[in-house]
């Protein structure tokens, strides 16, 4: 059989990949395999990270009452992806999947992102106004605590007023 990459040399590497039940066969020669940096056609990125990920995905929070079977049958109402499909592919189907699988994802995110489970970066202008106020409120509250500890009462009073304003802005929406 001829290599499907260069179409010249004899293919010496033969393998089959199954994605969502669909079979794909690959036949390539050693030179092409090497040239691709041992990354095989059709397998770019998908091999390393995602295979490792699905290993992580089988972690269930300890003491969790719901068994894996239940978790596996969780289905995203928007795109139809089930939790078990997610754990085998390592990829979400749509934005709603994140809400559907909810806190069940915490251990996974924590593993991948060094203990972090929530976002602390940029917020889009469009949907982010409310969140920006929340963040500001949170940091003012922290500042207030510090000010009280340091007995900076004038600053504390100013922060308290600002916090009230932010809170009314949030509840007014």
């Amino acid at each position: 059989m001829i290599c499907q990459e260069c179409g010249e040399r004899q293919a010496t590497l033969h393998f089959t990949k199954i994605i969502n039940g669909e079979k794909a066969e690959f036949h390539i020669c050693e030179t092409c395999a090497k040239e691709k940096g041992e990354v095989l056609p059709g397998m770019n990125n998908s091999f390393s990270i995602h295979n490792l990920l699905s290993g992580l995905l089988n972690i269930e929070p300890s003491g969790e009452k719901m068994g894996r079977q239940y978790a596996g049958s969780l289905r995203c109402p928007n795109c139809g992806l089930t939790y078990s499909q997610f754990s085998s592919s390592g990829r979400f189907g749509c934005a709603v999947c994140y809400q559907t699988f909810g806190e069940r994802l915490d251990p996974l995110f924590s593993k991948i992102h060094s203990g972090n489970v929530s976002h602390n970066g940029k917020i889009p202008h469009r949907s982010g106004t409310r969140l920006k106020i929340k963040r500001k409120l949170q940091s003012r509250k922290e500042e207030l605590q510090k000010a009280v500890m340091n007995e900076e009462f004038e600053l504390a009073a100013r922060l308290r007023d600002e916090i009230r304003e932010l809170e009314s802005e949030l509840s007014g929406e």
């Binding site: 260069c6 040239e35 940096g37 990270i49 990829r91 979400f92 934005a95 976002h119 949907s127």
Partner: protein
């Protein structure tokens, strides 16, 4: 096509060299992963839904084709390009192999100088990438961020208060930010220090890879260092952390260069000038050897052992001697043996053009 003309068309800005710390840092890259709220992610979306993504982005482009400092933006559909043309874009780091080979309704938007490339319908709906020469993480971030703001004003991004920007793969969620620096570290490799340094870097939440990304081994002593964590840290923290580690690596590499010259000057000179001799005279050269020799010559230039050859030779030739480029230059498909011949010729021509200039 003459060699000079080919070169002019072939070079992205980042390959022309320049930028800060250009003796060690080849390029800096920022990538932002974004998705649209209303549509399923590319992996499971229908062809029609994916076309909606490109249409929405094309509409935004049509209203502002010109962006300050970026010139005209051009959108290329993957299904309208030849395999070889796509391969060239992969070799220039402008698109991923996945977009070139596997995407449905995939497209890329390129700026004139190719410092900006936006992939559509790869693993995520939108991937904004800014690639700058030298150590310019901040500038690359500012450019990517402003493109992101521009899209944000016109599109409804998938975003969650708790998880941040939502992505197809859980390794990108949060900021969707992957920052990376591509570095040439020959002295750290020669002195063996690299084996001690890389495990330490991994412990800091950063990853080291070869030049062509995930899963690729290092060739030509070129390494890509990038952040692994995208969730829970701000963009600025992620970029600063990476920049600090990169600065350390730059410093260590400079020290190592100094010390190999002090302790084994003759050996180093011999190694470098041998490689120069081979590149200037070889008639057949395979890719891996070419990269190693080019790395030696580049080190020779940086150490002042080789004069009259411009230092961006490595940046240029690592890309120009890749299979896609060689075939594009030849204007035809070439067998691996023919490529080795063409590669040797291209390198000789390039060295010659320096001596004549």
């Amino acid at each position: 096509m003459t060699f000079r003309r080919f070169l002019q068309q072939a070079l992205s800005d980042w390959m022309k060299g320049g930028g800060a710390e250009a003796d060690i840092v080849i390029s800096s890259r920022i990538r932002l992963a974004r998705n649209l709220n209303a549509l399923p992610f590319p992996l499971i979306a229908t062809e029609e839904q994916l076309q909606q993504v490109t249409e929405q982005v094309e509409r935004i482009l049509a209203s502002h084709r010109e962006l300050p400092g970026l010139g005209r933006l051009e959108l290329l559909h993957m299904n309208q390009m030849k395999a070889l043309e796509k391969k060239v874009l992969v070799e220039k780091h402008l698109i991923s192999p996945a977009l070139a080979e596997e995407s449905r309704a995939g497209a890329v938007i390129l700026s004139e100088n190719e410092s900006l490339s936006i992939m559509l319908n790869e693993e995520d709906h939108i991937r904004i990438q800014c690639l700058f020469p030298g150590f310019q993480l901040q500038d690359a971030w500012h450019q990517a961020n402003s493109i992101d703001d521009w899209f944000d004003r016109n599109l409804d991004y998938a975003f969650d208060e708790k998880r941040g920007y939502l992505t197809s793969c859980p390794t990108n969620v949060g900021t969707g930010l992957r920052a990376s620096v591509m570095m040439h570290l020959p002295a750290l490799v020669m002195s063996g220090q690299i084996n001690r340094i890389f495990p330490a870097i991994n412990q800091l939440g950063l990853v080291v890879r070869g030049i062509y990304g995930e899963g690729s081994e290092s060739i030509g002593n070129i390494f890509q260092v990038s952040n692994q964590i995208t969730l829970g840290r701000s963009e600025t923290e992620i970029i600063d952390d990476l920049a600090n580690v990169a600065k350390q690596l730059i410093e260590q590499e400079r020290k190592a260069r100094h010390s190999i010259l002090e302790t084994s000057r003759l050996k180093v000179e011999d190694k470098i000038l041998r490689s120069y001799g081979i590149l200037a005279n070889a008639r057949i050269i395979e890719s891996k050897e070419a990269m190693q020799r080019l790395s030696d010559v580049r080190l020779g230039i940086d150490l002042g052992l080789i004069q009259g050859v411009s230092s961006n030779i490595l940046n240029e030739l690592i890309v120009l001697t890749q299979p896609g480029f060689l075939q594009q230059y030849a204007g035809e498909l070439l067998s691996p043996e023919k490529r080795d011949e063409r590669r040797a010729k291209l390198i000789r021509e390039r060295l010659l053009s320096e001596n004549n200039a």
